[in-house]
Each structure stands twice: as structure tokens, then as C-alpha cells.
Symmetry: C2
Subunit: 551 residues, 2 copies
Amino acid sequence: MAEKLKIIPLGGLDEIGKNMTVLEYGKDMIVVDCGIGFPDEEMYGVDLVIPDFSYLVKNAAKLRGMFITHGHEDHIGSIPYCMQEVNCPIHGTAMTNGLIKLKLDEHRLSDKVKLVTHKPGDVVKAGCFSVEFIHVNHSIADAVAFAIRTPAGTVVMTGDFKIDPSSTDGMTDLARFGQLGNEGVLALLCDSTNVERQGYTPSENTVAESLDRLFKGCDQRIVVTTFASNMYRIQAVLNTAQRYGRKVAVTGRSMENILKVGQELGYLKVPEGLIVELGTIKNLPKNKIVIVSTGSQGENMSAMYRMAFSTHKQVDIMAGDRIIISASAIPGNEKAISKIINELYRKGAEVVYEKSEGLHVSGHACQEELKIIHALCKPKFFIPIHGEQRHLQIHGKLAVQMGMNRRNVFIAELGNVLELTAKSCKFNGSAPVGMVLVDGYGVGDVGSVVLRDRKHLAQDGMIVVCVNLSGQDGSVITGPDIITRGFIYVKESDELIEEMRQVAMEAIDRCRAKHVRDWSAIKSAIKNDLSGFLYKSTKRNPMILPILMEI
Amino acid sequence: MAEKLKIIPLGGLDEIGKNMTVLEYGKDMIVVDCGIGFPDEEMYGVDLVIPDFSYLVKNAAKLRGMFITHGHEDHIGSIPYCMQEVNCPIHGTAMTNGLIKLKLDEHRLSDKVKLVTHKPGDVVKAGCFSVEFIHVNHSIADAVAFAIRTPAGTVVMTGDFKIDPSSTDGMTDLARFGQLGNEGVLALLCDSTNVERQGYTPSENTVAESLDRLFKGCDQRIVVTTFASNMYRIQAVLNTAQRYGRKVAVTGRSMENILKVGQELGYLKVPEGLIVELGTIKNLPKNKIVIVSTGSQGENMSAMYRMAFSTHKQVDIMAGDRIIISASAIPGNEKAISKIINELYRKGAEVVYEKSEGLHVSGHACQEELKIIHALCKPKFFIPIHGEQRHLQIHGKLAVQMGMNRRNVFIAELGNVLELTAKSCKFNGSAPVGMVLVDGYGVGDVGSVVLRDRKHLAQDGMIVVCVNLSGQDGSVITGPDIITRGFIYVKESDELIEEMRQVAMEAIDRCRAKHVRDWSAIKSAIKNDLSGFLYKSTKRNPMILPILMEI
């Protein structure tokens, strides 16, 4: 039997984020992207979510390289965790590698991992694969798609992209997609994030125009907050400030970082003297200042948050300040952003944030742009990626509308193994996948049991019942003592706590009367009785921990 | 000194929900609305938020009545809690009182509280106040505004409203607002919810048109989910079903309730034979069925949720079903709704939910409608209500744009006392206000301490350290035993737990060596040492509970 090309999504399907895809052929394997996911609201205390790397570990000998489309967290964030388990060269563009390097430094992995920098047009050999870098537009500089030559045929992976004909660094390389289509594309794996939206995503240029409108004639201080990773946007703010004779001060760690990296790598052109120290702006007139800040997603303790709530050491928002929020809310962040906006209004600031103001554009392709890619690539098989179930399904329908046979569309689940030959594609088997939770230094030590307990504790708090029992006859020597946290306000609940003591004591007495000496049975009795009593009297269900000690 | 009219907002400012306003003059006091607020994501385990009623309790002797604008939870939800503390007649329209009665029944208060039903146009005397009911459009039937005659002048309170000229039960009574304006309005208290939106809110009729488009020619089963309280919407679904020869089955408790109450009170016209039992629909062809369901906000365990996740006892979603989500997400519910939509797609259903489909309209007035009310009422003083800080501020600006003197706009904080005469309005003093948290049967027993503990427990779980110390010399008799919940997966953490035991033991030994016998000092030592050790080794900060028992 001839070898087949295997495509295995390890992340990025049925979810937004955690993007990671394996391509395997015979003794060779490569990985595209290695991102983090974000914990949902039920994952109490979890910092981030990474893919399960066990398939890579098991096949480490085959691993020829990792290829990264761009430098957003959901495409690079898991690299340090992955590189602690396997090792291979990482290939990316200059900007992408700049951001990866910051991560590797932080995890002290820079010496161990080889980072290789390429330009669009470059072709990289990795085992039987050869990977071509193709320029695409996205909300971060230096993003690429990949055309991956395999013995079974060419696979095109778009990464995150949109088509912006007036982008300052050139439009997505549609000509190249077209050539590839003419040569024959076996499979297309395409970004599905914006597939629900009709039409086209507006150009990043429209934001620059909006900024101009808001700077023009403004005689107040201006504060702009946006995504630190969007260098185009930051450049536009710098240019607009320069045009209107304002100095720029920067606040927030990731914004300071990006300014440094962006300048070093030549992605940001900063006119001399434009940037000033935050501490010096008090000496400037209000209409000569722009503050560029992190916190566009309402992040707690971000620079914007601290300025709004007067806990920033250097800057406080003043009445009359014009605050420009050049971002839209990532789902789940609406309330946090709203909280900051309310506080800014309370201080008498003018806040500009409405969609209608044209202060943000998406980084992802809408329906018409997706159709262009489908029409250019003319793939034999189509595998929608980067999306929740609904995005994948709608993208599948879009492909069918574009003339593709319904049976050539493959909506995969994470871990599904897709086997391709030059003529066929089918599901065959599966690889281990899952969410590995990162909490502090712990990777994977928080699982469903711990999360269930955290949720239980969060809902109704907990009660510890401490008793010392006699080793001889099981009688109570001291206790039961009741300690509660997160259940009720103890200082006003003496009576209830005394009742709980009684209930626990009766449970122990009952066990003793029945000659029950098995401690787990006594614990169960205490737990059940107390739980019933508390539900009846408070309609709450705290966690109950009976602790028995033998004397 | 002559008496003054006091207006005191007890809820509904700087927040969406919990609406409640006090009007007081001399020995008379009335209350308008008595709603609940919804806990934010940091209020772990809290079911709902109600206003602080202590100002009412303190002035109970003055209380002449409570007036309710409409039957939404954020205007009636706190009534049962309030009526346990004070008692007065409650005045509302038929639909509003129907919904209040359900609540009073549930809390066994129906016998104690007098509900008085009125129609638009009615005028109710309450002490020195007389309150006129004025018909307005909103997303629930039988909503009213109030014109309140006081010795100081007329106060107009809009309640929640919009202006829908093609509403099936007639447009908001603009003529009456105009007459009041001509007679002279002292103060306007106006809904600010949609003040950020330009233009007009579309008519509820447009939703009926969209439903028609989606029913027409559909040969599949149709499932519609919407807000149970929107009788207009439900009537439109019934009418459309009738028109296309489909039977209607209803699922979800609140939807069943509303169908019953709506029919009893004559707000829903249900053609005979249209409604069928859910259990019988399996005998009908697919194109003869509409299922009307709760769950438009993605509520866990709602009928829609259960149908999507195959835990509904009677109905499962099938490939081809057309699911119509006739609602938009209330901020904070986006992810829950998205989860259901993904599951529906996974089952092969067709889901219609986009804004562009015209499946929902707001119940609140946009800018142009607000301007109409301002222009008609021509109030001397303006107090924006029902909104977060930004809504209040923007509404204030809108009033100024409409020609009002900036000094006549009063953006109040909860509890501010506004004192009005026929010619003046000013802030003077404050009343106690706040959020009272309801958790199970407990009202107010969960406060900041309990919430802080719940948050701490939710983040990193907890550790109990149990030690028996000798009463004679403070030496360790048994323990320290370590019990954790929500911290780490215990079965794979033997080593860490043993280290924790060591750290605790060393802390105790150190205390003993220093002849420390004060138990709280020993507890602190255990807590500090363990906490430092754990942060260093895991970067987590679980709650640590040392329990010392003396033998």
C-alpha cells in the first residue's frame, strides 16, 4: 500500500484559538502553528489552554519542523510549552520570530530552539515536504499563508488573512494563489472566522482616516487604546500625531514592547523626537499630547484601566480628554470594556468607541474574500479551519455554493486523521487531542475534578467539620468544630453554625449507636445530614469536608 | 420653610436593572418600580441583586403606594422582597399585575399585598400625589409611563418605552405627553437604555414580516425561540403558523406560563386547535409543526438548550430543522448563545439568528424617539434614568442639544436626594442605597467578605492543614494532615503534598523552638510558610486553613 498524506488538526476546530495542524507523510511530519486557547468562564483560575502534544511526542522522531503563519497568541502562544516536550526548528517571518523569541526568552528556551527567519516567496524543505511562504494581509504585520508541496499534492493553508488592496505593505498575494490553483491544489485549509459576514472587510486604511477626523481640530488631550500587536494601527496613530504636531507617550508593558520590537525590526517608522517619556507630558499643552495605551479589551490592571480608575502612577484621565477606543470587543470582554467606558464618562472624558465611528476593522476575510480564495485555488478537497462549529458548517456551504462537490468538503473534529492521496480524501482513525490547562506553573495538573471542585467552592463556599474521636470507643473527644469560608457571613450566623454543630453531632452519635466504626461511613453521614439540613434552611449547597482525627 | 418634593433613585442609575425611584413630599411617599438587578460575573453564586429597602422601612409610615410601569423583572422582580419589609397597595395594569401576582403567589404573599389594576388614562390618588397612567410601547404588553402630579409640579416618568406607530395596540400616547408639556412639566425622568443609538427603533411589525419570510415555502420543522415576556412576538409566531397551516407546540416553563396568563387576560388571541401538546407533534408532518421554546439567551437547561444537547425528554433537534432565534444577546450572554448555535449546526439544523435577518427589535427608544419626548414634555428639569454612567451622560448631552440649560440636567448617583420646588432643583443629602445580594433563601447574608472568599476559592482552591497539638507542651500529637480541594489533582501530587506537610511541620517546630504558644501566631506561621512555598513552586495562591486542636 502506498503512503498517504495525513492531515490532523490538533486545535482550532470547534473553537476560536489554540490553532495547530499536523501534516504527516511516511517518516516525515511538520506542524503548522502552535497557539493557545483562552479559558472559558467555567474554567475558574485557569490561565490558558494549550493543545495536547502527545501525538507529537509519540512521533517526535518524524518531526521535521514547525511553521508559523503569524505572531498572534492563538498561533504562537503554545510554542514554549510544546518545545519543552519536543524540539525542532521553527520557521517564521521576521516579525513572527521576533515575537516568538520574546516568549522563548521568558521560558529560558532561546538556546535550545532554532528559529529560522524567512521572507514571503521563500521555500523551505522539511523532509518530503516543501513549504512556501506567501504574503497575506492580517491585523498583524508579516503574516503568511503556506503552500505545502507533499508527495500527494499541494496543500494550501491560508492562516488568518484578509484581502486589503490598499494595505501599506501590499495586498495578499492573490497572483500566487492563482498560480497555485492553476498548477493544481489538492486541499485548501482556510480561515473561517468571519464566514458569517457578508461582503468584504474594510481596509485598515479606513481606520487611519477615522483617526485623522478625530485628531483634526481637537484641542484636548487624546488617548488612543488599541491592540498592541497591530503595528499598522500604531503606525497610523504615530503618523496622525505627527501630522497634527502632537507628541506621543506610550503606556502599558505590551505597548512598550511592541514599540521596541517594531522599531528594531523596521516595521515601525518613528519620526525623531515624536515619542516622549510619559513623565514629561505634564509639561506639554493638552493639544500637543497623544497617549497610546494598552487595555482595549478592558483588561484588569491594564494601563487604560488604571488611568480610568485613578490607579495609574503617572497619568489620570481628566475632564475633556478625548479617549479613542480603536478596537472591538472580543466576545466575552464586553462587560469589562463597558466598565472602563462608564468610568471614563464619569470623569467627564469624551469617549469615542462606536462601530459607526470606523475605529476598527477585522483582520479576517468576509464571505466575498473567502470566495476569491476558493475561486483562485480551485482545490480538490476543502477543510474549513479556524472556527467554531457554525463557522465550519457555513464555510462548507460557501464552498459548495462555489461549485465544490459536497462530498469533497471535510468538516473535521479535532484529532480526526484525514488521509489524502492525489485522488482521494477520507477520515481514518484519530489522534489524541484535548485541552491541557495551564494554571501558574502547572501544566495539566488542573483537570475536570479540580475544576468541578473550584466551581462548587465558587458557588456556595465550603464548610470544614473537625472532630477528634476516641480510638478506643469512637466517642467524640473534641469538636465538632465548624469552619466556613464563602458560605455565610459568620459574624451574623452564630445560630446557624450552632445548629450545624448539632446536626454533625447527631450524625456521629447515630453512627456510634449503630456501631458504625468505618470512618468513611461516618464522614458520609455527617456530609449527608449537613447537606440536607443546609439545603432546607438556606437553599445552598456548600462543599462539606468532614475531618476525623483519632486520638 | 416650605416643603419640597424629593426624588430619590434607589436603583437603575449607573446600572442596567434594579429600577426603583422614590418620590416624597411632606408626609407622603410613593415608589415607582421595584426591580431586580443581575449579578455580575464576580458575584459567584449570587442568584439576584435587589435594592436596599432601608429608606422605605425607615419611612414606612409615609408610604402611600407603589406604582409599576411594566412587568419585566428589572421593574417588578424585587416586589416580593420589598413587601416582606414594608406593605402598601401596588398599582399596575392588568398584564403587569398578572405577572406580579405570579411572584406574590410564589412567595406566599398574595393575601398580604393589595394589587390594584388600572388602565391607561386612569388617575390614582396616593397622599398628596396623583398618578396618571399613560400608554407606551415596549417589548411587553400593557406598559405605561406615569405623569405624577405633586404640590411642586408635574413629574413625568417614561418607564421603559419606545415609539412604535404601527404597534398592534396603538402608538405611545404622544398626544398626552404633548398636553402635559403644554400644561408644564417640572421634571422628566426618562429611559436612557438606547441613547447611544441614532435614529429610531424599528417596529415590532418588522419582526412579523421576517417571520413570514422564513415560514414561507419552508418544508421543514420550524423552531422559534424568543423572550417569553414578549407577547407581541409570540402572537406574531402564532399568526404566522396559522397562516401557513402549522400547529404550534410550546416548551419551557416560562413560555407555558405566559401562554396561559396571556390567554386568560386576553392579550393573546389563539385560534382554536392551533396549539397542540408537545407529545403529539411526532404524528404530524414536519412542515406542519412550529415549536416555540424558551432559551433565547442560551440559558443552561432551558428548553432550547435541552433540545440542542439531546437532553430534552420529548424533542430532539434533527438535521434540516429551521431554528429561528428571535432575540438579540443581552450583554454577557453571547457565549452561552453561541454554544447552543454551534450545537444546532453540529446536528445539521439551519439556524437563523443574524441581525441582518430582522428577527429582533429593541424595546427601547433610540435618539430620535427620545428627542420627541423631550420636545413634547419641555421639562424644566431633566433627570436621565435607566442606564449606566455613559448612557446617563449621553442622555444629558442630548437634552442640552434639545435646548435645555446644562444646569437643569441632573445626573444623579443612587441615593442622591434631589430637592425640587416649582422653580428649583438641587442635590441635598443622601439616602442609604446599595446592592443586597440574594443567594438561595438568604437575603443580604452574602456580602463582600463571603464574595472575596468565593473568588479566592474559585481561583486556586483551598488547603486544610489539620494538627493535634498537646495541651501540655504544644508538641504535635497527630498531623499535620493536608486536605486539598480545587488546588491540584491529588492522585498525581503525592510528592507536593508530602512537601506541604514538611513545610507545615517546620513552621510548627519553629514556633515551638521560639516558645510561641499563641495559636493564632502558629496558624499565621503555617499559613505564611505554606503560602510562600506554594507560590514559589506552583505560582498559585490557594486559600490555606490551618486547624489546630488541643488534646
